[in-house]
């Protein structure tokens, strides 16, 4: 075998001998599972959106009534806005911090073990546990602010829209930055030092190296990490539900919560199903966009070495 395989340029293209049907069956268990609990319910929700049902009695087909109800509600655009707000801001907060910490971790050998354990703990806690803990901590009357006498901490964190959103993003970041930092750490350690050597000879400074070498080399990691982040934030429910339940008012009422409230609390399963379909469409759109970005991953990053 040659020491270095030729770039895997033939990676995604058609093999001269044609596809392998011998492997198809391997995909079947996953397919079946997914069909049963993913696709079939999806069709079910689509059908439900054309009915009127209060969740208790009979399901009545009702054409576009539920859709009209859902689309006419001003809460719908609002919750879409909230969802994107959360998604974008948490990405903006998490990605840079994770990359920086990841690079730091990659270089820093001492205490790596100890740090790693500590960093990972937030990820191990359930969203419910974290929300409850922070809720208690920032309680203006019984929390740290009161305990330490720091009045800045006694603010109405969860009672004011901007602050509540901030707290939410902070908690999400608290929980997930460690994970992404670890991913980036792994990616950075993979970067061949030759690149840095070469650039040093050309006179590049640390900052320049960071932007011209580090970042491009971890491009696919950024995409994978961002995929996880974005897909994850679209489906945030538990954290928001326990922390603010969409409040104050509707300041943190993301789309998933709006759907839940409409269906399970206002007994409007039809419109809730319509919102569910919208949720799916938004997700589909995002998946497509991310696929475009990540789809060129066939080239090996070692090309040209």
């Amino acid at each position: 075998m040659t020491a270095l395989a030729p770039p895997a340029a033939t990676g995604g293209r058609i093999h001269p001998r044609g596809g392998r049907s011998g492997v198809t069956w391997m995909a079947l268990p996953a397919l079946l599972m997914f069909l049963a609990f993913g696709l079939v319910p999806l069709v079910g929700v689509l059908l439900l959106s054309f009915t009127t049902w209060d969740g208790i009695g009979q399901i009545h087909p009702s054409g576009l009534t539920s859709w009209r109800n859902a689309l006419a509600d001003p809460e719908l655009p609002h919750s879409l806005f909230v969802t994107f707000e959360i998604m974008i801001i948490s990405w903006l907060v998490q990605t840079p911090i994770s990359i920086l910490i990841g690079v730091f971790l990659a270089a820093f050998k001492r205490y790596r073990g100890f740090l790693a354990v500590l960093y990972f703990i937030p990820l191990l806690l359930s969203s419910a546990a974290i929300s409850l803990t922070f809720k208690a901590l920032i309680d203006p009357n019984f929390g740290i602010g009161e305990g330490l006498g720091i009045s800045w901490l006694k603010q109405n964190w969860l009672g004011q829209p901007r602050l509540a959103m901030g707290v939410l993003i902070f908690i999400v970041s608290w929980q997930y930055i460690p994970f992404h930092a670890l991913i980036y750490q792994g990616a950075v350690r993979q970067i061949p030092t030759q690149l840095y050597e070469a650039s040093k000879i050309d006179g590049a400074t640390g900052l320049r190296q960071f932007f011209s070498i580090t970042l491009p080399q971890i491009k696919y990691t950024i995409i994978t990490s961002s995929t996880l982040m974005v897909v994850g934030s679209l489906t945030f429910f538990d954290l928001i539900y326990v922390l603010t339940n969409g409040g104050p008012g509707d300041a943190t009422r993301a789309l998933a919560l709006e759907m839940y409230k409409k269906g399970f609390m206002a007994n409007l399963m039809g419109p809730a199903s319509a919102i569910a379909i919208i949720l799916v469409l938004v997700g589909l759109l995002l998946a497509q966009v991310l696929r475009r970005l990540g789809g060129r991953g066939d080239e090996s990053q070692l090309e040209g070495m």
Binding site: G57, P248, N267
Partner: protein, 442 residues
Amino acid sequence: MNDSGLSRRNFLGLAAGVAGAATLAACGSSGPSSSSGSSGGAASYWSLSGPPGQPYRQAAIDRFNAANPNSKITGTFYQNDDYKQKIKTALGAGQGPTMIWGWGGGGLKSYVDGGQVLDLTDWFSQNSAVKSKLLPSTFGAATVNGKIYAMPIETVQPIVLFYNKKVFDQVGVKPPQTYEDMIALIPKFNAKGIAPFSLAGASRWTNMMWLEFMLDRNAGSDVFNNVFAGKPGSWSDPAVLDMLTKVQDLVKNKAFVNGFESVVADQNADQALLYTGKAAMMLHGSWSYGIQVANGGDFVKSGGLGWMNFPPISSGKGDPSNTVGNPGQYLSISSKAPAAAQETAKKFFSTVLVDDTEKSGWVKSGGVPVLANSDSLYTGDDAQYLKDMSSIASKAKVFAQSWDQALSPTAAETLLDNIAKLFQLQVSPQQWVDNLNGVIGK
């Protein structure tokens, strides 16, 4: 082959073993535990958890099971807001409990419309002894379209203005006699760093109590009666706009505790604010007494807790004796349960739920039972409170049902949502009225 750690074989073996064990464990503990056809009429019962009620609900079930070992009742308890959602999911897919606990009114009506509950009118006619043991006023919320679909149980719960006597003494003020007095107290408490009113703003139905009383004291019961009757545009009465503006004024004047928007009633956090002296007053349901006894140490025992009916508004048209709250709690029987289970439920209704232990139990919980002739039991530490509650409930010219329970769940959700926004100053009184008018009759 890289050997650090798990080899392929070990991994596969581990995977298979784990998955297999997990599946077995999962299956072993499976099976719907609810009402679907077990032998001998075993029945299920869902209700709310926590003080003060849960121990007494469990006690009733235990009493019944001791006397009826062949047709036992299993009780499951959920937190308030959790329960409201859980019961709907369960009913929606035919997996509800035999006995459905609720607040009557609009919620009950949605069950009736869905064909989920038994018509008990005839049963009550045949069992007039049972009916006569219950206070007649409690049947209102159990009646839909002229028929009775639930049995009144537990306690009558008017909403009451509680106050911390110690805090009042500390600040040197007297309990208010009128609404205007009450408003004048706000700056006095704020000046001393004590919140005038505790409020569980995150739960919303606690905020609603304010609107209910302020509207009633201001304009009487007609407005809401019209809304309830489904008359279009009923919310457009000028008294409503006035009341809404007053509410927002209260918020702007910092009448409510800092951070009220995130205080959750289910955690009894609002009561904690009162009994720890961080707030001076609190408008809440009469069941709060039992919670404060349970959680507040010796706050109640040492005489720290005061209570009164919501004070009258000087220029208001409403009768000052009016009150609002839960005329009772209600237990319905699922129409989808097997016949034997339904019979067990009926037996439960006619025996344990109306016996003397039940009555004295609820009295001990700090509540006025729906069972008649409880007055003789009002003794001991809680005597004065119980007498006052009983008096408020029986002397009220109008005992209105809480709005979110009287209305349908759909309208109720819009109501609560808009109330939250009102307190958040996110919606104007006129917008509030328009939004609510939009769901009248829905």
